[in-house]
């Protein structure tokens, strides 16, 4: 059984820098100048899962990303990790896409690139974090999907068993191939890139596809194809006027206990006693 696997990776501003993000009050735009872009962290887990399947069953792993041209860096990194091929969907006409238009564009890209047995994505992106692209991509591709997958195995050649993270619970599902799985970070630990990997990546194919290359309906891409649009943006102020407790550790502990009591918090046993 050889598997043809596609992994969707998003290029995102590095989450370590989010504290430094500012907005331009006049233009109402987000300033992220100087913030480096990286592969969306959980998308590396999706890639790792794909690479492990390839090692086990054979086949091919293609990484796909819709982004401005600069994202070739992230795609080379993915190939350095072990992906065989990469495709960047890039066109000014794709800009301003919401999740429905993004997933449509990705779907058309994937349809152009081949027939995939499995499409893997991350659960959510670090920047937008809508977690909506996976389900919508599956809808455009007309394949079934599962979201928030923490573990999966092949039950038969045509069927996967998957464990899905629910709220304080784990759901078990069967899903038929071809399918899309959005994986969560507990699924594996992504491998590091090696110097050897980086060298090999330079010889791999990176295709850049624009709107004409992938056969899109113009009314479904970019801002035009997006049912949603964004209005005002703001950075909420969460600052509190803090009071500092100082002294020796013992003094601090005593002061803190007094503060807790003042806030109406009393030790557990006594609270239970109150009710009886």
């Amino acid at each position: 059984m050889k598997l043809n696997i596609a992994v969707c990776i998003k290029s995102v501003p590095d989450p370590e820098w989010y504290e430094k993000i500012t907005i331009d009050i006049k233009t109402k735009t987000i300033t992220r100048k100087g913030i480096p872009s990286i592969i969306n962290p959980v998308d590396k887990n999706a890639l790792e899962a794909a690479l492990q399947l390839k090692e086990q069953f054979g086949g091919k792993v293609t990484v796909v990303c819709m982004a401005p041209p600069g994202a070739t860096n992230e795609l080379y990194e993915a190939m350095a990790m072990g992906a065989d091929e990469a495709a960047l969907l890039s066109d000014l006409a794709f800009a301003g896409a919401d999740t429905l238009a993004t997933s449509y564009t990705l779907a058309q890209g994937l349809n152009k690139l081949g027939k995939f047995d499995l499409v893997l994505t991350g659960t959510e992106s670090a920047d937008g974090a809508t977690a909506q692209v996976p389900a919508q991509l599956a809808e455009w591709l007309k394949i079934p999907h599962l979201w928030n997958v923490k573990e999966f195995t092949f039950a038969t050649e045509q069927e996967l068993h998957a464990k899905v993270k629910m709220d304080d619970a784990v759901g078990e599902y069967v899903i038929q191939l071809p399918a899309l799985l959005a994986v969560s970070r507990e699924i594996n630990k992504p491998r590091y890139t090696t110097a050897m990997g980086v060298m090999k990546a330079r010889k791999k194919t990176l295709t850049i596809l624009n709107k004409n290359d992938i056969d899109v309906n113009k009314s479904l891409i970019g801002q035009v194809g997006s049912p949603t649009w964004s209005g005002d943006i703001s950075i909420p102020s969460l600052a509190r006027k803090g009071q500092e407790l100082i002294g020796t550790p013992e003094e601090i502990a005593t002061q803190l206990i007094a503060k807790l009591r003042a806030a109406g918090i009393n030790p557990a046993k006594r609270r239970e006693g109150d009710g009886k």
Binding site: P15, Y18, E19, I21, I23, I30, T99, L100, E124, A129, T130, Q132, V133, A135, Q136, E139, P144, H145, L146, W147, N148, V164, K165, M166, D168, A169, V170, G171, E172, Y173, V174, I175, A179, S226, P227, T228, W229, S230, G231, I233, S234, L238, A239, R240, G242, Q243, E244, L245, P249, E250, I252, A253, T254, L256, K259, L260, A263, I265, K269, E272
Partner: protein, 339 residues
């Protein structure tokens, strides 16, 4: 526009209905009033064995009309089947706004339904309102909650939005309300349903102590707790205070805490009376989940730690030193009271 009214897609849980469903009903009533809308706020519940208990709960929480879809295949969440049922309901009734909890099921169902209906979905809203034209303005966080943006969907209907549990907080309670309850038959839909994904079952995590979302006091630990042994002291402190233990992401990776204890963008949103954070730096991703706490107390050994900017009480100290002193002090005081 022919589309009218606000729907809340409620969610069945092991013990009844998820609290976020009630939070959404309260919000829906508020929106209805704000927009002077005529159509009743409608709760839609998909599940199994939906007896009177469910409709009573939904009415109490503000539903003015109820649609129950009761069928054994709906026992567990299955995205294809659930989306197929909702799609046909929506096409038949044409609501203008659909609100869902951004639970594991809702976060998956909303975009699936949105794609099937070709309409817009706003994910993880922290607030919403109607604008002058009556369109839904959904306020969504980006960059881990650092930035908030308004999302609108003016040319398509329904407008779909999800909200994380605990974000809205407020629940209303009307006693002895009555409203129409309709049971929607899905035999025809199921006859055509060719779902390629099926649920086999669900296993609930064993929970001990006070649930994080309901605790009056939360003791949260971060990477600065440094070891399993000190983490256990943090658990002891929470127990002594009758509170719950929360965490940032690193303690999960270290194996000190469980997924269900994480607070933040990809974890839980809490609003306890008191939050005590120890060894937590204050990343946007975490703050987003605890910013609504009443009193915020932070202990960090780095005086420049960003968590201090969002704290009411700042303590620059080593958590490992303060923890045993707090436990001892509280236990001693407690004995005083009991004797």
């Amino acid at each position: 526009m022919t589309h009218q009214g606000i729907w809340v897609v409620a969610e069945q849980t092991v013990s009844g209905i998820s609290r976020v469903s009630f939070e959404l009903l309260a919000k829906a009533r508020e929106l209805k009033e704000q927009g002077g809308l005529q159509a009743p706020v409608t709760a839609v519940l998909l599940g199994e064995n939906l007896d009177d208990y469910y409709s009573a709960k939904l009415m109490e929480a503000g539903a003015e009309a109820i649609i129950l879809v009761d069928h054994p295949v709906l026992r567990y969440f299955q995205n294809e089947t659930y989306a197929a049922v909702l799609k046909s309901l929506v096409e038949e009734r044409q609501p203008s706004i659909i609100l869902m909890g951004a639970t594991a099921a809702g976060s998956d169902l909303a975009p699936t339904l949105g794609a099937k209906l070709h309409t817009g979905v706003s994910a993880h809203c922290v607030d919403m309102r109607l604008n002058e034209e009556g369109h839904l303005v959904a306020v969504v966080p980006a960059f881990g909650g650092k930035v908030l943006g308004d999302i609108l969907c003016t040319n398509f209907r329904p407008q779909i939005a999800t909200v994380r549990p605990g974000i809205l907080g407020k629940v209303i309670c009307f006693m002895h309300k009555q409203c129409p309850v309709e049971r929607f038959d899905i035999a025809d839909i199921l006859a055509q349903d060719q779902s390629r994904v099926k649920a086999l079952g669900i296993t609930y995590e064993e929970m001990k102590g006070v649930p994080l979302e309901e605790a009056e006091i939360v003791v949260a630990g971060g990477f600065g707790i440094e070891s399993k042994e000190i983490w256990q002291q943090l658990e002891t402190l929470a127990a002594v205070l009758g509170g719950a233990v929360g965490c940032t992401r690193p303690p999960l990776d270290e194996g000190w805490a469980k997924e269900s204890q994480m607070i933040g963008t990809s974890g839980k949103s809490i609003r306890p009376k008191v939050y005590i954070g120890m060894g937590i730096s204050g990343a946007t991703h975490h703050i987003c989940g605890m910013k609504d706490a009443g009193l915020v107390i932070s202990i960090n050994k780095d005086e420049k730690s960003p968590i201090f900017d969002v704290s009411d009480i700042r303590i620059t100290a080593d958590a490992a030193t303060i923890l045993p002193l707090l436990i001892e002090g509280l236990q001693k005081n407690e004995d005083d009271v009991i004797c």
